[in-house]
């Protein structure tokens, strides 16, 4: 490991709009090209706070469960961690390579085979083509899909999909892993496998697991953040 992964959220607020067509947003973005980004504290019509004043930090080796009902802001936190969006207010500091476990269908193309999708998904997670070539057997073996690896993934079941995606993710050199509701999909045997690899391999990494199932979180995590309506409880 090159350095220790560290994450800090300081008084993070995130505003979203409910409107479908964002008439203002493009104009605001274009104006901000010239003037620099401004932040508005007040809510305009149809806007709401998805996160309100969230602060926490995470250090290496921590497995953090994000627990809360639907729409409470869990996925927004993952988006901020993955750097796909930015906070309206406050600061998010993430040091380390982030690997989200990409949900079914996103990083994979249904017409491509398992092997082809390993390259696809692996490079999206920041692995080099050479590293993937080197690791491809390990990835296939861990997924347990060797017999199906040359089949287009559109013929996979959702469990097989997940196995492949998870297997690619754990073989990436990321320091921070984001698992969104996915561990519930696999069968008992695969969950056991995930459990043991997380215990043995991920001593240095930070893992985030999202779920509204408290049992799964208690099984996997050593710290649980309970979030409701954008506020930490």
């Amino acid at each position: 490991m090159s350095f220790e992964p560290v994450i800090t959220f300081e008084h993070v607020w995130k505003k979203y709009s409910k409107q479908q067509v964002l008439n203002n947003s493009l104009r605001e973005e274009l104006i901000s090209v010239v003037t620099g980004r401004k932040c508005h504290d007040d809510l305009a019509e149809g806007e709401f706070w998805a996160l309100k004043n969230i602060s926490f930090n995470a250090r290496k080796g921590e497995r953090i469960g994000l627990y809360g009902p639907n729409g409470s802001g869990k996925s927004t936190i993952l988006k901020l961690l993955a750097n796909v969006t930015y906070p309206t207010k406050g600061t998010v500091h993430v040091r380390g390579r982030v690997a989200p476990l990409i949900e079914l269908g996103a990083g994979m193309h249904p017409d491509l085979t398992g092997t082809e999708n390993i390259y696809m998904n692996g490079t999206i997670l920041g692995m080099g083509i050479r590293a993937l070539k080197y690791n491809i057997d390990k990835i296939i073996d861990f997924s347990g899909l060797r017999d199906f690896i040359d089949v287009p993934v559109k013929k996979y079941s959702s469990g097989m999909y997940l196995r492949l995606a998870f297997s690619i993710a754990v073989h990436s050199q990321a320091e921070i892993f984001l698992f969104d509701e996915v561990l519930a999909v696999g069968d008992d045997e695969f969950q056991q496998k995930c459990h043991s690899i997380i215990d043995s391999r991920f001593k240095e990494q930070i893992i985030f697991i999202i779920s509204h199932d408290k049992n799964i979180l208690q099984q996997f995590c050593n710290k649980i953040i309970h979030i409701e309506h954008g506020v930490i409880k």
Binding site: L22, E29, I102, E103, D111, T123
Partner: protein
């Protein structure tokens, strides 16, 4: 842009390779499509304008005249068409993980460039078949090609980004591409155009590029330097502006897509 993309070069390669695989998977004749598309357009135009309407285009061989126009045009139109829905169609990727977003529309430009280069080989064969005397001026094709790629990249980035905000863009683009087809001398020669309209047409960089691609290869003449200078400055300025805007609004894509 190059500095930004270097760290993600493997991802770009895989995206190009993926598009290539997807495109020719479950097709009967595979990569031959790269040739067949421009060739069928060329034959169509030759038939309609050459045989049916009997319009003479300068004194070039018909097939050569149309192929020289169709090639850069299909590259531009193919890339722009791909780009429009490229970001909005990959929304589940865009909302999950960060990578420079331009990689997706750029991979479309890249695969169309591959097709273009394959078509260019065919074009050279045609030049040989018609015994067109080749001169050193044909090397002008290289800067012209670079200008074409740069312009196409700018338009692709712009369309892909705008379609994230307004899906109207997809609908407008279909018309826009048709319009540009007629505003570009693909099926006619700029020499046949009245002076009043000529200057207007040259506002479209494709006009200059397509017209000169014929001129340097079929006629063996050189480009007019001051004209090229103006077009080049325009294309580079457009690219810089669009790329700057793209980078600026890229971070908001996941929120609005």
């Amino acid at each position: 842009m190059i500095r930004r993309l270097y760290a993600y070069k493997d991802l770009l390669l895989v995206f190009i390779w993926r598009e290539f695989l997807i495109r020719y998977k479950q097709t009967a004749i595979g990569v031959l499509w790269a040739i067949l598309q421009p060739v069928s357009l060329m034959l169509l135009f030759t038939f309609i304008f050459g045989v049916v309407l009997q319009i003479t285009q300068k004194d070039y061989p018909y097939t050569l005249f149309y192929f020289a126009g169709v090639l850069p045009w299909t590259f531009f139109a193919g890339s722009a068409n791909f780009a429009v829905t490229s970001l909005s169609g990959n929304f589940n990727l865009v909302t999950k993980i960060y990578f420079p977003r331009e990689i997706i529309p750029l991979s479309g430009v890249a695969i169309n460039l591959i097709d273009y280069l394959i078509g260019l080989v065919f074009y050279f064969l045609l030049l040989l078949v018609y015994r067109i005397p080749l001169t050193w001026n044909i090397l002008w094709l290289i800067p012209l090609l670079i200008m074409l790629v740069m312009y196409t990249t700018s338009i692709s980035l712009l369309l892909s980004a705008l379609n994230v905000y307004y899906r109207d863009v997809k609908l407008v683009t279909a018309f826009l591409i048709q319009f540009l087809f007629f505003a570009t001398p693909v099926i006619y020669s700029i020499d046949a155009v009245d002076n009043r309209w000529k200057y207007l047409l040259f506002l479209n960089p494709l006009t200059f590029i397509v017209e000169n691609m014929r001129r340097v290869s079929i006629e063996g003449r050189e480009v007019v330097l001051w004209q090229m200078g103006i077009e080049l400055v325009g294309i580079v300025a457009l690219y810089l502006i669009i790329y700057r805007i793209f980078i600026r609004i890229e971070r908001a894509f996941a929120d609005v897509i």
